[in-house]
Point group: C2
Chain length 198, copies 2
């Protein structure tokens, strides 16, 4: 997605060869128009899949997920990273290791918010080691919902997440795939022309 | 806002006379179309205020804030509840007591994401004791930005938050004001006809 790649090149900051800061448009400050365009792009990619629910994880996944839900006309459920006192229902739970934060977190979804017949699109802001997306997919497995695909805003293609997910049989659609961030420079994976150039 | 009140009556659950669960459309499952309508309503209420930035707090404030930002053409910044390893900039920090979770949390905003000249609209999902909104306003005071108003999705008007904020001179606009939840029944504050009935 060209507009997203442009934002990454113009506003992203390569902190190290593994860490990209996009806090000026995606995960601290959010650019609402770019989120809308991201939602529209996911709509084009998944509109034939009869998505009934979009699943993401707090907090940075919420903005792109809600815009995608608006276009696909599907409710969005965000997994919580910590059980709160007002969430007293039974929940599905998985444990995620965050390489960024170097800690384990429990993520939960209330059982009431997801049904056996749901066709689920998982949306997240980043794909690196795949831990968060895999945990979301496992939550869906617990609920017997069907994961029809995983939509990622920014994929660090030099890390193992994408292959882990594909090995488990999931369709992975990433809007920007980063091949390398060596020497402070972002290089994207070369791809065939997009189906919906913007 | 009539559509919001209808959602509260039809889908909200009064857990106790103080606690309303709206996890089927606002703070666990999110209804994207309702969020869009909420964003449009805040746009009508604040469009004359030359808003340059929208501030909210993770996680449940993000969806209504991003939709409001889309209509007002302003970027959205969400305060984080815990400093993460990739957020290495200097930050503004305040401490919030959550009555729901019965714990103190530090909330932070990177200094780079807010400027002295910003005209800020604070958006949050709930107003009860006013702790979160007050902390966001204090963060803005630290940055010398101007808070032009506070937009709340659901206000529990029987709790002290609204008055605390008004006493400090802030404009507070809440889309649904709950007068009472006695006996498991939601009663709204009677208000004059809305400027933009929907």
């Amino acid at each position: 997605m060209e507009k997203l790649k442009k934002a990454i090149l113009q506003k992203g900051k390569v902190v190290s060869k593994d860490v990209l800061k996009v806090d000026s448009f995606l995960n601290h400050t959010i650019d609402p128009l770019l989120m809308k365009q991201i939602g529209e792009e996911f709509y084009f990619r998944f509109k034939g899949e009869h998505v009934t629910k979009i699943i993401t994880i707090e907090s940075s996944g919420i903005a792109p997920a809600v815009m995608t839900g608006l276009f696909l006309n599907a409710p969005v459920v965000f997994a919580r990273k910590k059980k709160s006192l007002t969430m007293t229902d039974d929940v599905y739970k998985e444990t995620v290791f965050s390489y960024t934060k170097q800690e384990y977190t429990d993520i939960t979804i209330s059982k009431k918010q997801i049904s056996e017949g749901d066709r689920v699109l998982i949306i997240d802001d980043f794909l690196a080691n795949g831990e968060a997306a895999l945990a979301l997919a496992k939550l869906m497995k617990q609920s017997n919902a069907t994961v029809i695909g995983i939509g990622i805003v920014i994929e660090k293609s030099f890390q193992p997440g994408r292959n882990k997910l594909i090995d488990k049989g999931y369709r992975v659609d990433s809007l920007a795939r980063i091949a390398s961030m060596e020497d402070g420079k972002v290089t994207f994976v070369e791809e065939k022309a997009e189906i919906h150039p913007k």
